[in-house]
Structure formats: C-alpha cells, structure tokens
C-alpha cells in the first residue's frame, strides 16, 4: 500500500495514484495521519521502531505494509474544531510527522530534512552554497548593481527580484530524470547533470528548479521540493507522473531481497 500525505483532489495525487494502480499497487490518500478518524501509534526505542495506523474502515497498516510515502504537503491539516490551540497542535503534528517519515524503511518522496520541513518557502539564497557545490549558480538577488546593494533591516524579508518576464524555464527532477516545461534548448543541456547531482546531494528525489537569465548566464531563481505542475504542460506532466511511478517501483524492487 502506498500512502499519499496530501489531498485526494490534488492533480498530481490523482495522476500518480492512477499510474501506480495501473501497476497493480494500492494507494491511500491521507490528508493527516493524526486525524480523528485514524488511530496512529508509533513506538521507538534504542533498538527498534514500529508504527501502526488503524483507519476508520478497520484497515490496519504496519510499517512493512507501506510500500512508499508520497509527501505532498508538510503542513498539517487540522480538522478538529474543538481546540482553541491551533498552533500548538500544528507544531505537535509536524514534529511527529517529520520524525515518523525518517523511521520508515520504504521510499519516501521527499524525506525532507528539518530545515526544509520548517522553512515555509526557502528563498534561493537558502540553497546557494548547495547549488554552487554542484556547479549551479543562483540568480542575482540584489539587482544589477555590481557595487552591492543596501537593505534596511525592516525591508530585508521583502527582498525579492521576481520579474516573471525573465524566467527562462522550469525543470522538474524526478529521481534520475529531468523534465522541462519547455522544449529543452541547447543552452539548458549542460545543466541536467548538475541538477541531478544537486538533487542527490540534498537528499531529495523530487524537486522543481526555476531558471532565469542573468548577466553571467543562466541562474537558479527558485528551488521547490513541492513542484507545482501547473507550470508544466500536458506532456511534461505525464512524463513527471510516469517518472514518479517508476521511481517508487524501482526503489521497491531494489529493496526487495533476491
């Protein structure tokens, strides 16, 4: 059984569910594993870890029953209206979810590290050292002034260069595949191996990277571990879905004892 942590009507969840079910797999979409309708128990000690989810229909899933987890949303959806302490419950659910996905032996797309889990939308500067390590460069964030830009502290959070007119293209990396939202031009070809290395280096397997043109060439404008498929056309979306289904299937095949 594959677990999707997200919404049943999310376009990618719908497509990937279909692709996995065509391969004979079962899929369950769970908006929140800690909702009132699911009994979640997770035990951990120095030597072992085990979890159990019991759904309202009586279905019981242990760790070994979960073939893979597809994470489409990191923020908890709190359905309870009886509590007046939303942010505390949110923090508890997020902390439990993060810990839990790190104990599962099955493939998790993406198994986010804490810094990504807890940063609402990391600006590209968050990734700059990791990008440079892997042969990519981030888009200049302070405009075209080579002598440097000043920022008053109060304006600092608003630092943004988002000029949609100069966005060059979006790449979606899925495992060892790169899917573009445009016909790949020769100028983008050299970036594919760097994108694959970068994705592997940060420990993820599903990532969207937006490129923009800079004075020095093409730079990364945005990195998003929750790709937005509305930026990709129909054929690209199909390719991404297939690549994800293959990624899950291949990961499980590799982890099966021969």
């Amino acid at each position: 059984m594959y677990l999707f942590l997200g919404e049943a009507d999310d376009g990618l969840c719908v497509n990937l569910r279909q692709a996995l079910e065509e391969r004979g797999a079962q899929v369950r979409v769970v908006p929140d594993p800690f909702s009132e309708s699911i009994r979640f128990s997770w035990r951990v000690n120095s030597a072992s870890t085990s979890s159990t989810l019991v759904f309202a229909d009586g279905t019981c899933l242990c760790d070994r029953d979960i073939s893979g987890v597809f994470l489409r949303r990191k923020k908890a959806l709190i359905t309870s209206t009886s509590s007046d302490d939303y942010s505390y419950i949110q923090a508890e659910i997020e902390a439990a979810s993060l810990g839990w996905i790190w104990t599962l032996q099955c493939p998790v797309v993406n198994r986010l590290p804490p810094w990504l889990w807890y940063t609402r939308k990391p600006p590209v500067q968050f990734w700059s050292r990791l990008l440079r390590t892997n042969g990519l460069q981030e888009f200049e964030c302070c405009g075209p002034r080579s002598d440097g830009g000043s920022k008053n502290w109060d304006d600092f959070g608003a630092l943004d260069v988002g000029d949609p007119a100069i966005c060059y293209g979006h790449a979606c990396i899925v495992g060892r595949s790169v899917v573009w939202n445009i016909d790949r031009s020769e100028s983008l070809h050299p970036y594919e191996s760097a994108l694959l290395e970068f994705t592997r280096y940060v420990g993820l397997s599903f990532l969207e990277v937006a490129f923009a043109e800079t004075r020095e060439g093409i730079g990364v404008k945005e990195v998003d571990p929750f790709p937005d498929l509305s930026r990709f056309g129909e054929s690209s979306t199909r390719a991404i879905t297939e690549a994800l289904a293959t990624l899950f299937a291949d990961s499980n095949q590799q982890s099966c004892p021969q």
């Binding site: 659910i93 200049e140 959070g157």
Partner: protein, 297 residues
C-alpha cells in the same frame, strides 16, 4: 570580531554581553527584535564582501570571526501562524551560508523542533533513548502505562511547551483529548539529570540532583535543586561531540540522564541552550569558551 544577533533584551544575550565585556572580547549586537541595522551585501546576496552597520558601529564582513544567533524573544515572521519565533528567510539564508563560525546556523537548529527526529540521530550516536510512544490513541497510552508499571512521562513532541510531567490518573481521564492531536509518552528513567554544554570541541557537564520530573520547573513545586560540575567519561564525551557535529551545531545543550545502572540516556539536544541558568550556579565557563571559540578565525 563577534556579532551577536537577537533581541538585545533577551536574558541569555544580556548575560553573554556582560561576560564578554568583562573578558574583554570584542563584539557587536545586531538587534533583530527592534529592526536595527543595515546589512550591505555583494551583488550575489552574500555577506562575504559586505558589511553590517548598527546604531553607531560598522563591521566589515572580513572582520567577522563568528556569529552568536539567538532568535528567541524576537518577533514572529509577518503573517506566520507558528509557535516558533521565525527568522526572516533571507537573513536565515545569510547565516546558513556565512563562511565564519555561527552558533548556531538556523538550518541546523531546526532539528530541535522534532524530538522524535532528534531521537533517531541520538541513538545513532550510541546513546540509549527511553521507550517512547507517539500516538493519538487513548487505548495505546493505557496499554503503555500498564506495561511501564504506571511510570510514564508525558511531554511535547515539538519544541513548544516542552515540559515533562509524570502521567497521573487525572491525565488518563483526559486521554480522549488526544483526538485533537498526538502526544509523546516515555518510560520514566530514574537517576540524575546531566546537562552537557558543547562549545566547539569542549564539553561542560553539570549534574543536577532534584526530585522533580522536570528540574527546570522545580521551584514552582517548592522542590530544591542542586547543580554541580561533573566529569563524563571519554566515551560519553565523545558521543556528545559526535552528536553535536552530526546535527550541524557548534553550540549545544544536551540533556542526559545517568541511570542507577550507569547507563546514559539522551533526551534531546537544545540548539539554543540557556546556559546562564547553569553557569550562574556552577561557574563553569561556558560563555567564556563560547566567546573564545567565536573569536578564533
């Protein structure tokens, strides 16, 4: 030169300033809580060739040897619906990428927001962790409670409201409230608490003798608390250093418990430890070590 980033009225920052002033360590304070300061970056958004200007000082990036960052007591990010004081993402990115020492980089500090995540890292470093249950099921808690001879601790899973309490019959009556969200339950471990402050590659261990389940709040129960410096054996010291490095931290407050059998349990690693609480009583030179660590290029 060291840069302190945080709320200048935060008690830990005020303590550090007083100690570093008397130790004649050079530092500047960038008050994040009151919107003070101008940061000048190079055209790549990096501080490597930039500068920071405060109320009546200016610090070139190349003069910077280390940064002490403490986000507590700072305003939450605009529009954030979070229990944590959020740092401006661009500033966090800057600290994450600075080539000098930072205690601690915001990215590394976030592991403390999930105790179960940290527990996995802790056990990989050779420490024991208590038998733990994370659940929203009242039945699972009752079973755990009986298995552990009714000696169970309830505590938060996240870094919010992190107070440990012994699970009581009164708590059991409230278990149906778990439908609102999960909680964490742990087997009670007897023994002395030991707080280890790691600064770079130095460890300062403090033994706490107290009958309260959570010694930090013993005064609220009228219970006395005794703190004294202690020496850890080489293996435990090595595990503390390894754990701090594994989490990407340069400053850590590690919570240990030494069981009567001599086994060391580790509960969590605080990325923003309140070391003055211990230093005021034990006089262990944590703040001095931190200053010297951040002053060294």
């Amino acid at each position: 030169m060291i840069l302190i980033c945080g709320n200048s009225f935060d008690p830990t920052i005020m303590f550090l300033r007083a100690r570093w002033h008397s130790d004649r360590l050079g530092y500047r304070v960038l008050d994040l809580a009151h919107g003070e300061g101008v940061i000048r970056m190079d055209h790549k958004g990096s501080l490597v060739n930039g500068s920071i200007t405060g109320a009546n000082w200016r610090l070139e990036a190349k003069e910077l040897t280390g940064v002490f960052f403490r986000n507590h007591s700072c305003r939450p990010e605009k529009g954030a619906n979070s229990s944590y004081p959020e740092c401006e993402p661009n500033f966090a990115a800057l600290l994450n990428n600075l080539p000098c020492k930072v205690a601690n980089r915001p990215a590394a500090a976030m592991s403390n927001r999930s105790k179960p995540f940290q527990a996995l890292q802790i056990s990989k470093c050779g420490f024991a962790i208590p038998e733990t249950l994370v659940t929203n099921s009242p039945e699972a808690v009752r079973q755990f409670y009986e298995e552990r001879d009714e000696k169970v601790i309830i505590k938060s899973i996240s870094g919010v409201r992190s107070i440990a309490r012994m699970l009581s019959p009164q708590h059991l009556e409230r278990l149906p409230l778990l439908r609102n969200g999960p909680a964490q339950f742990q087997a009670y471990i007897a023994g002395d608490d030991i707080r280890v402050h790691v600064v770079g590659n130095q460890c300062f261990a403090t033994r706490i003798v107290c009958s309260s389940v959570d010694y930090r709040f013993a005064w609220q129960e009228g219970i006395s608390i005794k703190m004294e410096p202690t020496v850890l054996n080489a293996e435990v010291t090595s595990r503390c250093l390894q754990l701090t490095e594994k989490l990407g931290l340069t400053l850590a407050g590690i919570d240990l418990k030494e069981s009567p059998a001599g086994e060391y349990y580790c509960f969590e690693v605080n990325a923003a430890p309140v070391f003055p609480f211990y230093e005021r009583i034990t006089h262990q030179p944590v703040s001095k070590a931190l200053g010297e660590f951040l002053q060294q290029p």
